[in-house]
């Protein structure tokens, strides 16, 4: 589920909880979570680490990393309340920090790469410590339980964001654990994902070449890292990054005008190992909006709705009917066609410098809805 108010108006986390609660049957109480954007207006320029620790020793070790490489301006326990049904929570802490300027300079990395490096380091080398989120003015709130319980546990009603994503998990391949719940994040990218990415093996091997460590063994983690690689490091426009990850079929590319076909052909040939294959519906949240996307042949449900400046997507239409009282339109996005929400006034391009302005992007080129949507009957 994802909801974004493109006007930048803030919504309480309760909206996100409501949208997830109606979809309770999609999960089994073994994983639920949310990501909110614009939630830390008092620290807009700090990276915020939401941390999970198995024990005090893990906390000590991770904090040693923070102390060594960062200037920590605030460290505090995550505000939580006891909730029936939620037990065995790890130690939950959050840190508002910035890279130590000298160390950052010596590292010859960008601040973002510095953060990515730290996240990989902690997740792979500090036993019992896990970075739940690491972006600016955003945070992930997740754990083992039903999403409405998790939302209640983290006091989401006290946060307000322009974009919220939510997830309810029915773990099949891995045991439910706090770090394993969605969303998966890196910097301000967060992913919630319904489905299973059958190309995980090659996606993770591809990412390894660029220094990403897929330590969690889940397919959602690779999606988050792939967006980071394509958008932030390779500076692909968002529309094209989406088309690299859920590529049009060759038959469609062959029918495009040559200039455009050349772009898509190259995207596929170069980013073939990054292509997400298998059944999925994902929502990517970031500072500036969100994008929701289905796999290339729509093997998982994804429905979208718009009401005024609010754009919402979910696996079930019921979630949107719960939150939006009178949607202007409800439609089922086509396979592989990204639905993009852009928050007004937020920096866009998100990263890099190649993005066209929203009104410059032709839907014929990208297949992206940018203006008015043709309503589609949803059964």
């Amino acid at each position: 589920m994802g909801i974004c108010d493109e006007s930048g108006e803030l919504m309480s986390g309760v909206e996100a909880i409501k949208a997830m609660a109606v979809q309770r049957d999609r999960g089994n109480g073994l994983g639920g979570g949310f990501a909110g954007y614009g939630i830390y207006p008092e620290f807009p320029d700090h990276f915020c680490f939401h941390m999970m620790y198995h024990d005090a020793k893990a906390k000590e070790e991770a904090e040693a990393v923070f102390d060594r490489f960062f200037v920590v301006d605030l460290a505090e326990p995550m505000p939580t309340r006891p909730v029936k049904g939620i037990s065995d929570a790890p130690l939950l802490w959050r840190y508002f920090l910035n890279p130590d300027p000298h160390k950052l300079e010596n590292s010859e990395m960008s601040a973002e790469d510095y953060i990515v490096h730290t996240v990989m380091l902690i997740n792979s080398e500090v036993d019992g410590a896990f970075v739940a989120s690491s972006g600016k003015n955003m945070g992930a709130f997740k754990g083992v339980g039903f999403p409405e319980e998790i939302g209640h546990y983290y006091l989401l009603e006290e946060y307000a964001g322009h974009t919220w994503t939510g997830h309810n998990r029915f773990p099949t391949n891995t045991p439910g654990w706090w770090g394993g719940a969605h969303p998966f994040t890196l910097l301000d990218w967060s992913i919630v994902h319904n489905g299973e990415i059958s190309s995980y093996g090659i996606n993770s091997r591809y990412l390894e070449q660029f220094g990403y460590k897929c330590t969690l063994g889940t397919d959602t983690e690779v999606a988050a890292y792939l967006f980071d690689l394509l958008l932030r490091r390779h500076k692909l426009p968002l529309e094209l990054a989406c088309k690299a990850l859920a590529s049009p079929l060759w038959t469609e590319i062959d029918r495009m005008p040559e200039e455009e076909a050349e772009v898509y052909r190259s995207l596929r040939a170069v980013y073939g190992p990054a292509m997400l294959n298998g059944p999925f519906a994902i929502v990517l949240g970031f500072n500036g909006g969100m994008v929701a996307m289905n796999d290339r042949i729509k093997l998982r449900p994804l429905v979208a709705a718009r009401q005024g400046t609010k754009l919402m997507v979910a696996s079930e239409e019921s979630a949107m009917r719960e939150v939006l009282d009178a949607p202007d339109e409800v439609w089922a996005p086509k396979a592989g066609e990204p639905v993009i929400a852009r928050v007004k006034g937020m920096p866009w391009p998100i990263h890099g410098d190649l993005h066209l302005a929203a009104d410059e992007v032709s839907t014929a080129v990208t297949g992206v809805h940018t203006a008015h949507h043709e309503p589609v009957e949803v059964n």
């Binding site: 299973e196 059958s198 190309s199 090659i202 052909r265 190259s266 190992p273 292509m275 294959n277 080129v365």
Partner: protein, 503 residues
């Protein structure tokens, strides 16, 4: 004294009650097994079990049987080793043979199984959903560079795309087999099939006959140490150029085409005298380092208007480092040839004992290129006894972009793996230049059979992708997570990057 201590390997049995006495067998046998005096009389000692006579006997009265002469059991001295000693005591020579390694080495492909999908990532139905096999062969940039096209879309920045890559409609191409080692009709069959299939055939080191010029965009032209047939025209005709350094069946051994196979046409195409042996030594005498190789790669690129240039090497120890050097030298693809690969003629001792398995070579090369962050800079072609679409799928899952098939494509044209290619007497008209034999392959017929074979394997690849829950071959390529090993030791699993079954 008997002239030979070796008994015939096969016995030719003719049921004379059924025999029409038509003499067809006499005509069909390339090895002159039969003489005819009112009825055919076979000389068993010459028979290679190629089954040409059996296939064409209208009365179906010929049987070729193994001559199971009892030899005293000896676990140390196999019958074959004993026969080889007798043979060499008689001839004093190196034993030559044709086609691939026939020794029962562990075939790693047969110890790898593919994954399948179940409930949460269900299989995809290849009959109803698109299953894409298209592959682009060649060097790719690290990322795609785009800029606004001013019309609401994007266009490629210079050098940001894959415009010099070769499009393959399926990731299966034909292995290099030179005109000279095989007949012109075989080359024509391969070229026509490659064109119909949207793939590539490969000239091997024998040049390109003028009749095949129209098929140039489906041809890889090879440059070996002998430079046979290499001219600016030749380089420009092909879609890509391949520098042959080694071959899997005989690493460290050059090419040798005996003078008997060099008729007028072959001599014109190869640009060598008729009837003289054509030897291309293993070393290229202008390549003694990676820098030299780089110079050759770039001279060929210059000479051909920057066509993709690949390098073919045999799978041997340290192949990862060699491949890395090749990619850094500017090659657009690395062609890896494993030690089970076939060849027209090789010293048996080399063919059967030198080199390493293809599976290992793919795994180490793919990993090495990834470790160095240059995997996307070149494609990997894997060859050397790809026997089925399953082998192809496993090679791709280990990290190959494309597989090449040689023995299998000759089998599609009738080859029965009798291993007599080096004699030039191939009854099926494949590895011979005798006109009465070469005319047995009609290019149109050959092209159809090759097209059928590759189409059949491609459909099977699509079935495999569907079972794996993906609908494009790039999601299988290098996806070792989708393979499991059964009965391989831990170290081999580690080198292959494959978990044992059950994990």
């Amino acid at each position: 004294m008997p002239t030979s201590l070796i008994q015939p390997e096969f016995l030719v049995e003719i049921d004379y009650d059924k025999c029409h006495k038509c003499g067809r067998c006499v005509q069909q046998c390339g090895w002159g097994v039969y003489s005819f005096n009112e009825r055919p009389f076979p000389d068993d000692s010459k028979c290679r079990a190629c089954h040409r006579c059996v296939t064409y006997c209208p009365a179906h009265c010929i049987k070729i049987k193994k001559n199971d002469l009892a030899l005293r059991d000896n676990a140390n001295w196999s019958p074959e080793l004993r026969k080889n000693v007798w043979r060499q005591a008689e001839s004093g020579g190196v034993m030559l043979t044709g086609m691939g390694n026939d020794k029962p080495y562990l075939k790693i492909f047969d110890h790898l199984v593919l994954d399948a999908c179940q409930v949460t990532n269900p299989s995809i139905d290849p009959l109803r959903e698109p299953m894409e096999l298209r592959t682009y062969l060649g060097r790719k940039p690290d990322s795609v560079g785009v800029e606004s096209n001013g019309k609401g879309g994007y266009k490629l920045k210079d050098g940001g795309g894959v415009s010099n890559n070769i499009k393959l409609d399926t990731p299966i191409i034909f292995s290099p087999m030179s005109y000279g080692s095989v007949s012109l009709n075989v080359h024509k069959s391969l070229a026509m099939a490659a064109e119909r299939l949207g793939i590539l055939m490969n000239t091997g080191e024998g040049g390109l006959h003028a009749d095949l010029y129209p098929y140039g965009k489906n041809v890889i032209v090879q440059v070996a140490s002998g430079r046979f047939g290499v001219s600016p025209e030749y380089l420009n005709r092909g879609a890509a150029i391949e520098i042959k350094v080694g071959q899997g069946a005989k690493p460290g051994i050059g090419g040798h085409l005996p003078g008997e196979k060099i008729n007028k046409e072959v001599s014109t195409t190869r640009m060598i005298p008729q009837g003289s042996d054509a030897i291309s030594p293993a070393p290229h005498h202008d390549i003694y380092s990676i820098e030299d190789l780089r110079q050759l790669i770039y001279s060929l690129k210059e000479a051909s208007g920057y066509k993709p240039v690949g390098v073919k090497i045999a799978a041997v120890h340290n192949v990862g480092a060699i491949a890395s050097g090749i990619v850094r030298a500017g090659a657009d693809y690395v062609y890896l040839d494993g030690f089970s690969g076939g060849t027209g003629a090789a010293p048996a001792i080399i063919r059967d004992h030198v080199g390493i398995p293809l599976e290992i070579a793919i795994a180490v090369v793919d990993q090495r290129l990834r470790d160095e962050g240059i995997r996307n800079q070149a494609s990997i072609i894997a060859a050397g006894s790809i026997r089925s679409s399953a082998d192809a799928a496993k090679a791709i899952a280990l990290g190959a972009d494309v597989v090449a098939i040689g023995s299998a494509s000759l089998m599609a044209l009738g080859c029965h793996l009798c291993q007599g290619c080096h004699t030039g007497c191939c009854s099926w008209g494949l590895t011979t230049q005798k006109p009465e034999l070469t005319r047995r392959v009609d290019p149109e017929w050959g092209a159809e059979r090759l097209t059928n074979l590759v189409n059949a394997w491609s459909h099977e690849l699509q079935e495999i992708l569907g079972a794996l829950g993906v609908n494009a071959v790039e999601s299988l390529r290098g996806s070792r997570e989708r393979l499991r090993a059964v009965g391989l030791d831990q170290q081999t699993c580690e080198i292959l990057g494959v978990k044992p079954a059950g994990l």
